[in-house]
């Protein structure tokens, strides 16, 4: 993550020099009074550049390693992703920043696809798990009886 420059004009200049690069998101959002004063901050925000949609940082509120690390894994498996990673800017904030840089597709779409993939995987895990439990119960009737007695 970009370090915070103690001299704002300097960082502003460096931004001017490289207009195509996405801005340092979390730093910008934290120091921007307009953003901080927003009445209902959304649960997920994209911080990217107007000209280049292939690289963005996504700020997701009320999430932690649980979602971010899983999504990071799924993103890393996507051939369209050039780089991705996540960070929790401060342990006391309920917020994660997920950085996605792609080889050409819009970062937002790629992230959404990854989340969709993760959901599919979860559904499959749930289905497989349920069948495995039913199979186990069928093959171990004693275990089933105990459970049934308990439920009644």
């Amino acid at each position: 993550m970009a370090h915070r420059c103690p001299f704002p004009f300097l960082s502003a200049r460096s931004r001017l020099r490289q207009p195509a690069r996405p801005q340092p998101q979390s730093a910008g959002a934290a120091s921007d009074p307009a953003a901080a004063a927003a009445p209902h901050p959304p649960g997920a925000m994209e911080h990217g550049s107007v000209t280049d949609s292939t690289a963005s940082t996504f700020s997701i509120m009320d999430e932690d390693h649980t979602l971010a690390n899983s999504v990071r894994f799924v993103l890393n498996q996507d051939p369209r992703v050039a780089f991705c990673g996540y960070s929790i800017p401060h342990p006391a904030d309920n917020k994660v920043n997920i950085r996605v840089q792609t080889t050409g597709d819009p970062a937002k779409d790629v992230l959404k696809d990854s989340l969709q993939d993760l959901m599919l995987m979860c559904q499959h895990v749930r289905g497989t798990f349920d069948t495995a439990v039913t199979d186990f119960r069928r093959n171990n009737p004693t275990g089933m009886n105990i459970d049934q007695n308990k439920k009644k």
Partner: protein, 370 residues
Amino acid sequence: MPKKGTKSSKGTEDEPKQQQKNKLPEHLEVQRTRVVCKADAPTEGFQYAGAFAAMGIDNSVSADKFCKNFKVVVNRLTEDDMEFDMIGIDASIANAFRRILIAEVPTMAIEKVLMADNTSVIADEVLSHRLGLIPLDADPRLFEYISENDVPTERNTIVYKLHVSCKKGSPRLTVKSGDLEWLPEGSQLPLASPAQSGDKQKTYTSFSQSQKDILEKPLGVKFKDITIARLGPGQAIELEVHAVKGIGKVHAKWSPVATAWYRMLPEVVLRKEIKDADAEMLVAKCPVNVFDIEDLGNGEKRAVVARPRTCTLCRECVMGPTGEQVELRRVRDHFIFTIESTGALPPEVLFTEAVRILEEKCERVISELS
């Protein structure tokens, strides 16, 4: 496997090449799929999807590929504890399930204690804390969350009362969790005196109907033998508790599991044959009896790996003179997952709920991004 039936002249030539293409050399395959635990430290392998792209190996995990390879095998399933193998999943997702189980699957727990009388030696706040940690036998899926300004109703609050006293001259009395009595009609403590004598007495809850009518089975505590306090002669406790729905992230009393953990499947490989005295030594060295002795006849003995699953990776076997001959590994995508429920929900339901919560998280972020 390579496809057969193509041009016969080329087919024979292509086959070995293609086989080579689809398979990594053994040492790389070990790096890809195993964590090798050396005597000093484990070695890390590769995770990156294109790590072996140059060799024509696709190391990526697409949703399709995942669905094809994922497997679950249940090893043990009892009323409040289960163990199963989860095969073909990445640690990040397995860990997400574990984290959700511990911190985000909701349960019911005592949150408010209305103390009418407490002359016991245990202080009010300590007593309240003890009450909070008692596992309740109530299905959290039948209840709603209560927020700060909500009125406690039959849909979001469970009320219990504890009314115990020790008579003067009698021996000390132990108050157990079983003494908590469920009040399906709501609180019995008056909030304020009624404005008019004809009005119904207001209490700390406003139940519109009895919980007996909306629930299939009566509520209670999961274990009736948890000691809450001990009363001396003449001491008494009179209180009412309100249990609400919550998650372990807020307070551990809402965690539905005692523990949920996983470990990667251990794999013990003997690189060379270990015989006779060395074999005896190896068997004696292992504290969990992973190795056995096999009799080869004519007085010769050989060490074999009999129970790799019990291995705790203490690395005793990879140290010392026979250390070079043994290799300890863990299978990267094979997890032995254990869930110990505290009793509100059976372990298999807990896991299903955890997976569903991860799905909901994805859904929320997708909808918020668009």
